[in-house]
Symmetry: C2
Subunit: 99 residues, 2 copies
């Protein structure tokens, strides 16, 4: 019996490997795999974005060791940063509603 | 319609506020709230732990601004670190099985 938090952590691991295993090093996301993951799994996040270089920018920001691939640690940092950004938006929204 | 990754991010936000709202600053986890979150939501992770000071140690490590409370950014860093640790274990296991 797992908890929702354990399920969420498990989801992160499963999603990463689902895309990283498609080509090349199966423990890392190539730029194509990252793009596929973002467009398929973060549709709401990307739907408002019109920047054609967004995936290149995210790849550049994430790829701290500059091997042009994203490993699991780099991926988790992306998800953490996005979650913090969503949360900041949520807190701001609550403040406006007078909570 | 949300994706599993968006659901996972949503879960992190919901769990944090469920516990942080119990006492004091409702946007931060006190030591008691952190302990309750860890024992209720990461049961598998904590079940093998016998260190009575574990929660104090985690609090100390997370509380980067030393206010004796854990904010959402500090909480996400904990979850990211635990997920990376689980993933390292998973990769090691795959290697041993000859993948």
């Amino acid at each position: 019996m797992t908890t929702p938090l354990e399920d969420a952590m498990d989801t992160l691991i499963r999603i990463f490997y689902h895309y990283s295993g498609k080509e090349g090093d199966r423990n890392k996301l190539s730029k194509g795999e990252l793009k596929e993951l973002l467009t398929s799994e973060l549709t709401d996040f990307l739907s408002g974005q019109k920047d054609p270089f967004l995936v290149d920018k995210i790849m550049n920001d994430l790829d701290s060791n500059k091997d042009n691939e994203v490993d699991f640690n780099e991926f988790v940092i992306l998800v953490a940063a996005l979650t913090v950004a969503c949360n900041d938006f949520f807190e701001e929204h609550l403040k406006k509603e007078g909570f």
